[in-house]
């Protein structure tokens, strides 16, 4: 790549994501710890919600999404803690690139991480709670995708902004959960609709469309506010 030509938006996104992936692949710290945490979450909830060997109704849907939310918060915190420790976020901000591209690059990295977690956790929940999560794989996959995107979009923005704040560890969940509760509600209700003996497809599709709408609104907001909010 010639030094005179500035990389395009997509190229920048790929550069940022690739950097994060390479660093992560070397130690695999965040991936392993987040995965284990998600599995532990599911287990703890299993002990909480299984009565006489059978799970309470709709428990599977709730547990799946709570595990994603909790492990997502953890992953966000860890990812940006790494940036903070080496002060690399400031370096990234100084680099001559589109700020929104930096945001999207970080977001894609977090999404890939959460996708890896969901690939493990979803079958686990389906198994442990005898829930037919794969009866409608396309719809289920779309619900997971749009929900994760919504959660990660808000989370990446907040985690990036908290890098220099005090009490950042506890403030991330405090800020993130109220804003993303609509995502969790939609995800859980949509998944629960799919888990019914007679899967309620129109309801699931309705929640899916709400998630899509939510994603569009909040990614747009995040792209708008990332640069002015991150610069002094």
């Amino acid at each position: 790549m010639s030094p005179e030509r500035r990389p395009s938006f997509v190229e920048t996104v790929w550069l940022v994501t690739r950097k994060d992936l390479l660093i992560e692949l070397r130690s695999r710290e965040v991936v392993y710890t987040t995965l284990f945490f998600a599995v532990a979450c599911v287990l703890v909830f299993a002990f909480g919600f299984v009565r006489e060997g059978i799970a309470v109704d709709d428990a599977a849907a709730g547990i799946l999404w709570i595990a994603i939310a909790f492990s997502g918060t953890l992953a966000l915190g860890r990812t940006f803690e790494r940036e903070r420790q080496n002060d690399t976020l400031r370096a990234l901000m100084l680099a001559p690139m589109d700020r929104p591209a930096l945001y999207v690059g970080k977001l894609v990295g977090v999404l890939l991480l959460l996708a890896a977690v969901e690939v493990i956790v979803t079958p686990l929940v389906a198994l442990m709670f005898v829930a037919p999560l794969f009866a409608h794989p396309l719809l289920m996959g779309l619900l997971l995708a749009t929900g994760t995107v919504g959660f990660a979009a808000v989370g990446t923005l907040f985690a990036a902004m908290l890098v220099r704040a005090r009490s950042r560890d506890v403030l991330l969940p405090i800020l993130l959960y109220p804003i993303t509760i609509p995502v969790i509600i939609a995800g859980v209700r949509g998944t629960a609709a799919l888990l019914q003996p007679q899967a309620d497809l129109p309801i699931a599709r309705m929640w899916l469309s709400m998630l899509v709408f939510f994603d569009i609104v909040f990614i747009t907001l995040a792209l708008w506010t990332f640069e002015p909010a991150m610069t002094e």
């Binding site: 704040a165 005090r166 800020l175 609509p182």
Partner: protein, 218 residues
């Protein structure tokens, strides 16, 4: 703007003084009886809370995109008011609901979303208090996102079945109920404006103190 403060204060005080009489004279609602009268304070409190949320969000947007410090003071004041009015709504609602529905709380869309909205502004205040320097911009982003959640609140009650009266109830009120309701709503909006002005003044004075301290050190 400052000249409006005293007349507004007088009008609001008058409305609040008259309100108990207006509420007293309003007819009983057919199914809920006396307890429905909480409606005259409950709904205006939520109206004021949403108003505060909007003001906070808009002020936050100005802080982020125009970088103005005085907008930040308004945002902080509005967030505090959102928490106070939201608390009013959250306490009066269950008191009404206990009698009208038989339960203190329902996990339906409207109540849940309103509670979430309230939590966003509590989180705002926590961030401002414990986030250290430079949390003005982050809290402005939070307020903006909180404001963006407001449509989801209103939309959810019309999409998902709920025992909470639909928003269209207000439009179909008879005049005998509608007028006291309007009076109370105006009273609360006036109260919001008065409290906002007072709270912003507090922040302005604090900002002057900070500035003077800085020049003292020079």
């Amino acid at each position: 703007m400052k000249k409006l403060f005293t007349p507004l204060l007088i009008v609001t005080a008058a409305l609040f003084a008259y309100a108990p009489f207006a509420i007293q004279n309003a007819p009983y609602e057919s199914t809920m009886g006396l307890v429905q009268k909480i409606f005259y304070f409950h709904v205006p409190a939520w109206i004021a809370m949403f108003l505060a949320a909007m003001v906070c969000g808009i002020a936050g947007a100005i802080v982020i995109f125009a970088g103005r410090k005085d907008a930040d003071r308004v945002a902080l004041a509005a967030a505090e008011l959102a928490v106070v009015f939201g608390l009013m709504g959250l306490i009066t609602g269950p008191l009404w609901g206990r009698k009208a529905w038989g339960v203190w709380w329902q996990w339906d869309a409207r109540l849940t979303s309103a509670l979430v909205m309230w939590l966003v502004f509590v989180a705002y205040l926590l961030l401002r208090k414990y986030g250290g320097a430079g949390s003005e911009k982050l809290s402005a982003v939070l307020a903006l996102f909180g404001m963006a959640n407001v449509p989801f609140v209103y939309w959810s009650v019309n999409v998902w079945r709920t025992v909470h009266p639909k928003t269209s109830v207000v439009m179909t009120l008879e005049p005998s109920m509608g007028i006291p309701f309007l009076l109370c709503s105006l009273a609360f909006v006036g109260l919001f404006a008065v409290l906002l002005a007072a709270r912003v003044r507090l922040e302005t004075v604090r900002a002057s103190v900070d500035e003077l301290y800085l020049s003292l050190e020079d």
